[in-house]
């Protein structure tokens, strides 16, 4: 008699312990998601309709594709930058440069997206700081200076802001790689780049993937950067969502667009879950 009671009591305690977390998730994530779904599919008279999705595709197909392209390109570049920095931190031969780089690369982590957007706005403008430096150093002619405040500006801001995050994860994982592997390869005459690509990277692939997926999803949801750098067509879906709400008070189409970006984010989630599942099975 006591044993089942004990189990029951254990379960009760466990349930009580996770109840607050579950309530928060239910109240602030699941419920709004369900409501968003309901509003996106509900017509004026309360009937089921695909009208809002039709309108979303009609008006915003370009922006959806643009969003996907921007975020994919940024993810790719973030991956390359993160591998380069983390690789140097792990394999770099010059201790002082490594120390300086280690100290420097984390700075953007502490800068909010909106501030990054504002920085880029003056940095990448036609008569902005970047072009001034390039013209001053004689690298480009004043007449050929052009504004980078379009899709390129968004990509630069995203890579600048997210690469340190992935680097942080990746450098940690690389530090955990058995140093014997690296030393063995080096002893056999492998160059640093080869060690990075053939020995280190395969061992930290999972961490890299997780970092990139998290960046992918984060970038999908950023409103401030595209709003500040390039809110005009084509632009990212977040700007369109904000626009539908603030100018038209049009929650149905805004919600339909949100569900569509959720579908984009789901691509990332699939990768993430696969990796997580593989890890569990591996164990």
């Amino acid at each position: 008699m006591t044993a089942p009671m004990g189990i029951f009591r254990g379960r009760g305690v466990a349930l009580a312990l996770i109840a607050p977390a579950l309530a928060v998730v239910g109240l602030f994530f699941v419920a709004p998601l369900v409501m968003s779904g309901v509003v996106a599919f509900r017509g004026k008279g309360g009937e089921f309709t695909l009208e809002h999705f039709r309108k979303s595709f009609d008006y915003y197909t370009t922006d959806l594709l643009f969003t996907l392209a921007i975020v994919l390109l940024s993810t790719l570049l973030i991956g390359l930058v993160a591998i380069a920095i983390a690789g140097y931190l792990t394999l770099g031969g010059h201790p002082r440069t490594v120390a300086v780089l280690r100290w420097l690369y984390r700075w953007p982590l502490f800068i909010p997206f909106v501030v990054a957007g504002q920085l880029m706005r003056t940095f990448l403008a036609k008569n902005g700081m970047l072009n001034h430096v390039l013209i001053g150093s004689g690298l480009i002619e004043p007449l050929s200076a052009q504004s980078l405040l379009d899709w390129r500006g968004i990509v630069v801001a995203f890579v600048w802001k997210q690469a340190p995050f992935v680097t942080l994860l990746l450098a940690g994982a690389m530090a955990a790689v058995e140093s014997q592997h690296i030393e063995a390869a080096r002893n056999l005459g492998a160059r640093r780049l080869r060690v990075l690509v053939d020995i280190v990277l395969p061992q930290v692939r999972g961490t890299l993937l997780v970092g990139l997926v998290l960046s992918f999803v984060t970038m999908l949801s950023v409103l401030s950067v595209p709003l500040m750098i390039n809110p005009n067509s084509p632009t990212m879906v977040t700007v369109d969502v904000a626009y539908r709400i603030s100018t038209h008070g049009d929650y149905p189409v805004a919600n339909a667009l949100c569900l569509l970006s959720l579908a984009l984010a789901a691509i990332g989630a699939v990768f993430y879950l696969r990796h997580a599942a593989a890890q569990v099975e591996g164990k």
């Binding site: 403008a125 626009y243 100018t247």
Partner: protein, 378 residues
Amino acid sequence: MKTRMFILAVALAFAGATAAQTTLNVVTAGDQNMVDYVNNYLAPKFEAANPGVKVRAVGTGPGDAGSQKIYEKLSARQKAGNNEWDVDVAVIHQLASATMVKEKLLLPYRNDVSVGKLVSRDTAKNALGADVDGYVMPMFHSQIVFAYNPDLVKAPPKSFVELNDWVKKNPKQFGYNGVKGGMSGVGFVTGWVSAYSGMGDKLEKGPYDASAAPAIDKALSGLKEFNQYVVMTPGNAGTLDMLNRGEIAMGPVWVDMFYTWQADGRMSPKIKLVLPSPGLPGQPMYYVIPAKAAHAQLAKKFIELAESPEVQADGIIKQFNWYPGIDPQYVQPKLDQAAWNKLFTDISPADLSKYGRPFPLSPYFKDIVEGYERVVLK
């Protein structure tokens, strides 16, 4: 027992009346500068003139959404059958004022206040096609105009037609912020449609006619071609930034933002303004008194102060660079020549009354901005 209760109640009432101050609640839509204006500028003046009164200003946020919140609050009070609403003066946008007059949420007060006769613009009677005569007084007007760099533009285009020719001769020198980056871009687009559809009056005064859509789309297809020759800027401030850095030579801006930037040293003093024919839109903010305001008499006194030529001169024009809510002829004598010149150098009061237009009626407005996405952006 009853008598004792009665005496107690009377005593309490007296105690309350003598000890407590009266609080005048002013609720304002708009940016923080609106709240600052009431708290830092108007409130001390009003409190000094009315001992025992305390002014409390609350902001509800920028844009039509801010006015919407005020509407929702008053509407809730009305539905609850409440007889003393805790908003005495509200400052709202045009769109909300139309709804609030229709739903009898406002008190007609303009004929009761001495300053009521000082207003002259059409906006005091008509808000985006709705009759609001008597219920509102414009606190200020703001206006969208073209700002241009006279070093690069010797003779600025005086009309939309001239502008269209000008951008073809000077590609990538005109910049505006589309319809998703703030109202100066939206105003440019509605101004374009008014000019090229030939329906300016109809768009502003109505009645709404859905069959006008093809004419709007046609005007917008002209804008699509125009867009090939211009730069898209990131927002109201983005246009000002690019002008100041010399990246564009001309663009639509809000007059008050422009002058504030110039006063702060964020905008080159060389840049000048022009208001093209047949006009660009502008909008007022309105002072209104809710139908059952707890202190309606005090509210009227407050608005009399706020609309007095002295306050309009010193507060609205000199400190905040807005155009006055009342007729400029009453304000000019109260203002030194320099301050007056600053506001009206580039754009004369005559031009302002001729080319300063309201935004289109809200159904047309919706047709235009949605049409922009459909026709121009695709």
